[in-house]
Amino acid sequence: MTQEAISIRSLNYSYPDGTKALEDVTIKVESGEKVVIIGPNGAGKTTLFLHLNGTIRSLEDNVNVFGKNIGRMATEERIKEVGIVFQDPDDQLFMPTIFDDVAFGPINMGLDEGEVERRVKKALATVGLLGYEDRVPHHMSYGQKKKAALASVLSMEPRILVLDEPTANLDPRSRVDFIRVINDLNKKEGITIVIAMHDVNALPELSDRVYVLNRRVVAEGSPRKIFSDISLLKENNLEAPEVFNLFKVLRCFGYNCDDLPLSMYEAVDVLTKTIEDGNGHIHLHIHEHTHEEVKKIMYSYNHH
């Protein structure tokens, strides 16, 4: 049985100076789903997220979480449903030590000391920061702070996890770690994940479904559907993953496959299958139109 985790119906929001930030935004996320929201800078992603935990309250009854209006929920109830990990960990870690930060939410939920400690331990273990309890944030690297910020939200054990640019500014190793942690949370704990990001190469691993947001919802669909629509990508300053583009080029060289792979994992699967079907070989060739077609593809991805 699938349940609706998030339901936003025609949400509008304007900044105090009158600029429209969100226009008629309708988004639905099923329980247990991984949804990524992409869009150009200033598309309203952060504003949308602030609605999701009641930091900004919609005057209309149109932001619901598990069927309940988020604006009318009590604080303790709200933080049990939705946890938001903001982009800059220095904004999220505001207490003197890591322990205090991770314990902040659980203490506000009114849990007893034993339970608070259990949750802090579990959250830190999940992100791989056990033993960092007494550290102060200014003695930690950016990657560690980012993980700590995630732990400080996980300790509230929310059913929905909202992440703003989780992979931005991380070194490759931390980025991989972070993606794995998020996927584990989704798979093992069934946490619904909503992510805003620009990192299109990480997107296929992190999403079942994609929304393209540019003040209004411009498009919605599977990552493959979104990335296949070149004019959509162009209009919204987006790009397809490198692997996807590479296989598009390979297609010009006569490589035959129905679904273009979006990530390295898919690429390996697709290649293995083609080689096995072709009795251990891949056939690529150049015919008279190949260069022209390749040029066309290369050109369509250069935004100038």
Binding site: G105, N108, M156
Partner: protein, 253 residues
């Protein structure tokens, strides 16, 4: 980068480091109170000596201590010169027709001695425990939440702002800016400070949003595990006795 941290040597081991944070704050506060209100020169000298002994016991590096105290001395030392010439009393000597008084000299010395001992005591108190421990101890002592939060955020974000300032400063340096004593440099410095204020205002907004999303309702609670043992009571009693002793002896004798 190297931060000017007050609690850099909080991990040393000494009787003062191991003293319970709450008892430490209370007994040192009482100590400082009496040190500041002393009126006799001889007792003030003894107090200064006592502050030195405490620093010695705490094993804090002398260089670290001097580095902190020099700024205070910069402010109080002038009193040693100003007071003798301005306070009234019996004449000690006259320089170029300006009268220098005995009472003024004593007062000036008292001010310097009191301030130096008090600052040394505060330093011994703050530098022998981590600053977050200090904050938690104050929380346990029921200091008003507003004060605790101000202290907490100051401590947390002072390093963030320092980094932000240095980033801007380096960016300016890399575009050829040199600090000189002219209007242009001053106005640039003004811009940097202004930017810092705008940035901190925006950050405050974001921090508040993240506090809300973690269930903040106005009163941050925290969990503290301090354990007062007999030894802590004994040290506290000893320190407070030393503070009051000169006053009692004066009354008795």
């Amino acid at each position: 980068m190297e931060y000017p941290e007050i609690d850099r040597y909080a991990s040393l081991k000494s009787p003062i480091h191991q003293f319970d944070p709450r008892a430490k704050i209370i007994s040192f506060s009482i100590l400082i109170f009496f040190v500041v209100f002393v009126n006799e020169l001889d007792i003030a000298v003894i107090n200064l000596f006592f502050s030195f002994i405490l620093i010695f016991i705490s094993k804090l590096p002398i260089k670290f201590v001097l580095n902190r105290i020099k700024w205070v001395l910069l402010f109080v030392l002038p009193f040693l010169i100003i007071m003798p010439f301005t306070a009234g009393g019996s004449e000690l000597m006259t320089i170029d027709g300006i009268k220098m008084t005995y009472e003024g000299l004593v007062l000036g010395m008292l001010i310097v001695l009191r301030a130096t001992s008090a600052v040394m005591l505060i330093l011994t108190m703050l530098a022998t425990m981590r600053f977050d421990t200090t904050i938690k101890a104050l929380y346990m002592l029921n200091v008003p939440g507003l004060l605790i939060q101000m202290l907490m955020f100051t401590y947390r974000y002072i390093f963030v702002f320092l980094d932000e300032f240095l980033r801007m400063w380096r960016a300016m340096g890399s575009k050829g800016f040199k600090l000189k004593a002219n209007m242009y440099a001053l106005s640039m410095l003004g811009n940097v400070v202004g930017m810092l204020i705008v940035k901190s205002y925006e950050r405050a907004d974001r921090v508040y949003q993240s506090m809300i999303s973690k269930g903040y309702t106005g009163n941050p609670k925290t969990m503290v595990k301090f354990n007062m043992v007999a030894k802590d009571y004994a040290i506290a009693f000893l320190l407070i006795s030393i503070a009051i002793l000169p006053y009692i002896s004066k009354v008795v004798l």
